[in-house]
């Protein structure tokens, strides 16, 4: 099933709307959490899905894993359309798709030992039992860098970093082709984050799975990901390779996001210009017409009136670099909001 050379995951026009309100709330509305998101995840690729809170990045992850039912669009895993499969039909596919959660404190069952937690997917899929199960659990616990004796411990006995390793072991024990990681390090301390990020990269290299990595942290993305999709209010506004995105961000939102990221170096940080966006992210209950970013866009004067009325398509700016902005066309870059990232690099190196 996974032998073909195509992408392991294809998401096309994904839409997820949540109805809100009710009899008591009086009025009804629809939260446009995800509105027409398309991307592919190649074999062995790490794709970063970046966005601020409310951008819909986690909803995309939940739809991909079929933890929520998509409202529209299609999701294909290894070429199979899984968009509306029943739970029973999904079951065999669950071997291929696994998730690592953000909070290693609440995502592990406190009444199960580490060994039981890690072995559970193997048991549930009826893949191995007895000695064979033991061997698998032992192997994966070693792979994620946990000491063997920890398998008899309970989650509360472990540190945050160790718990996240258990989470990783559980998701990788079946050797899935896709790992979905939703902010897997944001609950951890800096030094622990580093070891988990290193581990994730090593594991990916050794095991070859594809990874959809969801985060709000651009520095993490740059460290880990091959390609990056930037989301704003339920839509992808820019999608490019890591180097391309950081070297030549096009969408004004991406530019603002990159300029706002803090560099841990005072000389660089204090000479950088950052774009502070006006106002707050609009409510997904009533997303703005046209380009969803137009209410906060520093380039709104130039993009109006088209951006007020027309939704900009996500189209190719250069090879493999997609941008959804009225000001960007093939070969025509968006105006720079601040000096190029390249200048910042030279400032830092110099």
């Amino acid at each position: 099933m996974s032998a073909n050379g195509g992408p392991v995951l294809e998401v096309d026009g994904l839409v997820k709307h949540f109805p809100v309100g009710g009899v008591l709330a009086g009025r009804r509305g629809v939260v446009h959490a995800v509105d027409g998101v398309s991307f592919t995840l190649g074999r062995g690729e790490i794709l970063g899905l970046v966005g601020e809170s409310g951008s819909g990045k986690s909803t995309v992850a939940n739809c991909v894993l079929r933890l929520t039912e998509p409202t529209g669009g299609t999701i294909r895993v290894n070429g199979t359309d899984v968009t509306h499969l029943s739970r029973r039909q999904m079951r065999p596919l669950r071997r291929e798709l696994h998730m690592v959660f953000q909070d290693p404190y609440s995502s592990l069952n406190p009444r199960m030992t580490v060994g039981d937690i890690v072995g559970e997917p193997v048991r549930l899929h009826g893949i191995a039992k007895g000695r064979a199960l033991d061997a698998r659990v032992e192997a994966i616990i070693d792979t994620v860098g946990l000491r063997a004796e920890l398998r008899y411990r309970y989650p509360h006995e472990l540190s945050g970093g160790q718990r996240q390793r258990v989470g990783l072991a559980r998701s990788l024990v079946l050797r899935p082709s896709v790992l979905v990681a939703d902010e897997p390090v944001s609950a951890l301390d800096v030094s622990v984050q580093a070891s988990i990020l290193n581990l994730l990269r090593d594991l990916q290299r050794d095991m070859g799975f594809s990874c959809l990595f969801i985060t709000h942290d651009l520095a993490t993305v740059e460290f880990l990901c091959d390609r990056v999709a930037v989301m704003y209010l339920g839509q992808i506004v820019e999608l490019a390779s890591r180097t391309e995105l950081f070297r030549s961000p096009q969408h004004p939102y991406t530019q603002a996001l990159l300029s706002a990221a803090l560099v841990p170096d005072p000389t660089v940080q204090r000479t950088r210009r950052r774009i502070v966006l006006d106002g707050d992210i609009p409510s997904p209950l009533t997303p703005p017409s046209g380009c969803r970013f137009h209410t906060r866009c520093p380039l709104h004067e130039q993009s109006a009136p088209a951006s007020d009325e027309e939704v900009p398509a996500l189209r190719e700016f250069s090879r493999g670099h997609l941008v959804a902005c009225h000001l960007v066309a093939p070969g025509r870059p968006a105006p720079r909001l601040v000096e190029d990232a390249a200048d910042i690099v030279s400032a830092e190196k110099g």
């Binding site: 990269r201 520095a219 993490t220 460290f223």
Partner: protein, 328 residues
């Protein structure tokens, strides 16, 4: 050198718990100058918040606080609770991490800011309202007079944090303690809050103690940095010197652990890891607390507590083997 605004010496904080004593802070000393931004950096449990909260007795009864904390020449730790009430919230005020939970959901923003003004400054309702509008303007909340009548749930996270800052600034404090003020906020909103704090320092001359785990925030706004580890001060330095010439192996480890944007291309370096974990705060080692995780550790580090000493101008480190080169 002028007398510092705040002069803390040998501050120790212990918590008496069912499981025995927890030594959260061990003999911390630091100063804060007027109008200075002091960053206190460390990972969870290092005692950075407890240090600041102990100054104005914001800790539970189980806390045993020792030491001296002179604020404008008066010892905060020896003050009666009555005197302390006049300092807390008025001269030294706090902004906490969670703007969602620090505001009372059942009162309007105006009432909550007004309460501070009425309590501390004895303003009338009308005066308080006028001043509240000024304060919201100060923290750059648009349409301030309308916002006053809104409830916290009607505001976004960034707006709530601005309201918190407005409340903290209500009595024109000399010291603002900001405990992870931007951690719960999005990147683009965070930038706005940092700009606001910089602006406040410049316009009002407020000294700021900024507690954070984020070295990027420190790089952005702090004048001086204090790195804490396991309840003790590991390193203290002007901000530029700390980043350019870090001395303590723990500081070096922290700096190496952060993925940095714009690192350039495909070298795909590894992040530095700090092996092991933070020691238990149950018993304080009569040794360097970091020794167990440190590659430079020698017998000396395991038997004696390193004293803080100056290695570069105004740059002090508590380590027997300081230096900016060798890895952890």
């Amino acid at each position: 050198m002028p007398q510092p605004l705040l002069d803390v010496a040998d501050l120790s904080v212990r918590f008496d718990t069912d499981d025995g004593m927890i030594h959260a802070v061990d003999k911390m000393s630091f100063t804060l100058g007027a109008g200075e931004v002091l960053g206190i950096v460390g990972e969870s449990g290092c005692g950075k918040s407890v240090t600041c909260m102990s100054l104005v007795k914001l800790l539970p009864e189980t806390a045993v606080i020792e030491g001296r904390a002179l604020f404008e020449g008066r010892d905060l730790l020896a003050m009666s609770s009555r005197d302390l009430r006049r300092v807390r919230g008025r001269q030294i005020s706090f902004v906490f991490q969670e703007p969602m939970t620090s505001l009372n959901p059942v009162f309007t923003v105006g009432r909550q800011i007004g309460e501070v003004l009425q309590r501390h400054l004895g303003l009338s309702r009308v005066e308080a309202r006028a001043r509240s509008i000024e304060l919201l303007d100060l923290v750059r909340i648009p349409a301030a007079d309308r916002r006053l009548d809104e409830y916290p749930h009607q505001l976004s996270g960034g707006m709530r944090q601005r309201v918190m800052i407005a409340m903290a600034l209500a009595c024109d404090p000399k010291v603002l303690v900001a405990d992870e003020p931007t951690t719960a906020l999005d990147v683009t909103i965070q930038a706005g809050i940092l700009d606001l704090m910089r602006d406040i320092r410049e316009r009002l001359g407020t000294a700021i103690i900024l507690i954070t785990h984020n070295l990027g925030v420190v790089a952005d706004i702090a004048d001086r940095v204090l790195v804490m580890y396991a309840g003790r001060k590991a390193e203290e330095s002007p901000v530029d010197d700390l980043f350019a010439h870090p001395q303590h192996p723990y500081t070096l480890g922290l700096l190496g652990a952060i993925p940095r944007p714009y690192e350039g291309d495909d070298t795909r370096r590894r992040l530095q890891e700090i092996p092991g974990r933070v020691p238990s705060l149950r018993e304080l080692p009569q040794a360097c607390a970091f020794a167990e995780r440190c590659r430079r550790a020698t017998e000396l580090c395991r038997t004696e507590i390193p004293e803080l000493h100056e290695v570069r101008p105004a740059h002090r480190v508590a380590c027997f083997h300081p230096g900016e080169n060798a890895a952890v």
